[in-house]
Amino acid sequence: MRKAVFISLWKKAKMYNPQLTDDGKLKHLLSIEGLPKSIITQILDTAESFVGVAEREVKKVPLLRGKTVCNIFFENSTRTRTTFEIAAKRLSADVINLNVSTSSQSKGETILDTVDNLTAMHADMFVIRHAQSGAAHFIARHVKPHIHVINAGDGRHAHPTQALLDVFTIRRYKPEMHNLRVALVGDVLHSRVARSEIHALTTLGVPEVRVIAPKTLLPEHVEKMGVHVYHDMAAGLKDVDVVMMLRLQNERMTGALLPSAQEYFKTFGLTQEKLALAKPDAIVTHPGPMNRGIEIDSSVADGRQSVILPQVTYGIAVRMAVMSILAGNN
């Protein structure tokens, strides 16, 4: 009896997708996992329209006029916070930035109290970055129905807007996603970006996703995510169309996972020689911030195959798309 109740509850929980409204529209953006292809495509297509806005005399559209977006960053990130801020401002929203690590949390306030206080100040959207996996889900479950939550990175779990801007960049350079071989290189174990990227790529129908990393930087059973695992750059990079570099997450590393940074660069750092094994027109992405000389050589980072700076530019368009789609789904 108890088991039956448990199973029915479990089924209910599984069917309930906190990101979607009852009629299947995007309400919160918490992870790529669980998002249907149609919504991912809608975000990418909408972002195409926002790219042009940045090239105009007035780089603003009035969609979020009168709305207040709160960037709550429990963990530092200058680039992500700045691009979210610019995105919200280009949509004409009012933006409040809270760097919580230096504010009331250090005085002992709980996350939900912080959120409730901002709700009382009539915030309409929260952009959350937190070192704890699941923080954005937790807040999304708690907020009032008219409020939208965007996960801007939670622990090792997910960083959906980064993955969306990565696939947006790939799609712009390589529109035939059904024909691509993509390799993710580096610290997959600690990377929320990698997890979200793998989900986004496979959902969009990329036929071959590879991960290249030392065994110590790969999560257990990573192949269950539908990726091909390589421990050797030469084999892994052969004939790929896209090389997605990951940052070595020094701050999340515990124990001796790597012999040394120099050793790592020698084996897994992306140099021109190693990149030459990929297709001649292969592109190189990196979510930033880069550790030059550790996971990527400067000549590659600044080279002709690098699309690292376009990624930053497109990141604004993609975040504008996410915010405007969410704000419209009430």
Binding site: S49, G52, V58
Partner: protein, 171 residues
């Protein structure tokens, strides 16, 4: 049941409209089509009015006044204004003129590209039902339609224009 209403021939209307526009076209004029019917019309009007005319296209989804009620349109297309708007005489092209709200959105968007010398509006059909102080200067056909009808420009496989009238979902 819908009462049958006679619809004019859209191809004829396009020729009439081109005739109205011809005298006002000069080197400072630009045509801007509004997605999607207005863009089709602009593409057809260009060879009739002078191939080298400056032209662009607008998708007004980001400027619509019903975003709060309806959310973002499912399939937005990028707006493209590949010329300097500053000081130019712009003719907005749309298929059907109804409430005037789309045109308001289009004008707001145009001004974010620069300050045009003038904006005028050319449409195939003015169906009545204006809700704003905006009206087309160039119009090939006037008719009065009840609010529960949706008049739309369509294109067949050969690219020939025709009009359709359907019962509208939302009034």
């Amino acid at each position: 049941m819908m009462q049958p209403i006679d619809l004019p021939d859209a191809e004829q209307l396009l020729t009439i409209l081109a005739g109205q526009l011809k005298p006002v076209i000069n080197s400072e004029t630009a045509l801007v089509g509004i997605h999607s019917g207005g863009v089709w019309m602009m593409e057809r009007l260009l060879p009739m009015l002078g191939k080298n005319m400056k032209h662009g296209r607008l998708d007004v989804s980001f400027y619509r006044d019903d975003f709060g009620q309806r959310g973002l349109h499912q399939d937005t297309l990028p707006s493209q204004i590949p010329f300097d708007v500053e000081g130019r005489h712009i003719i907005l092209i749309d298929d059907v003129f109804y409430t005037g709200r789309t045109i308001r959105a289009a004008m707001n968007e145009l001004f974010d590209y620069g300050r045009p010398a003038s904006i005028s509006l050319a449409v195939l059909v003015n169906r009545g039902g204006r809700e704003l102080p905006i009206t087309p200067q160039f119009c090939a056909h006037d008719m009065q339609l009840p609010a529960n009808r949706n008049l739309q420009l369509m294109q067949n496989a050969e690219g020939r224009f025709y009009l359709t009238l359907e019962e509208s979902q939302d009034v």
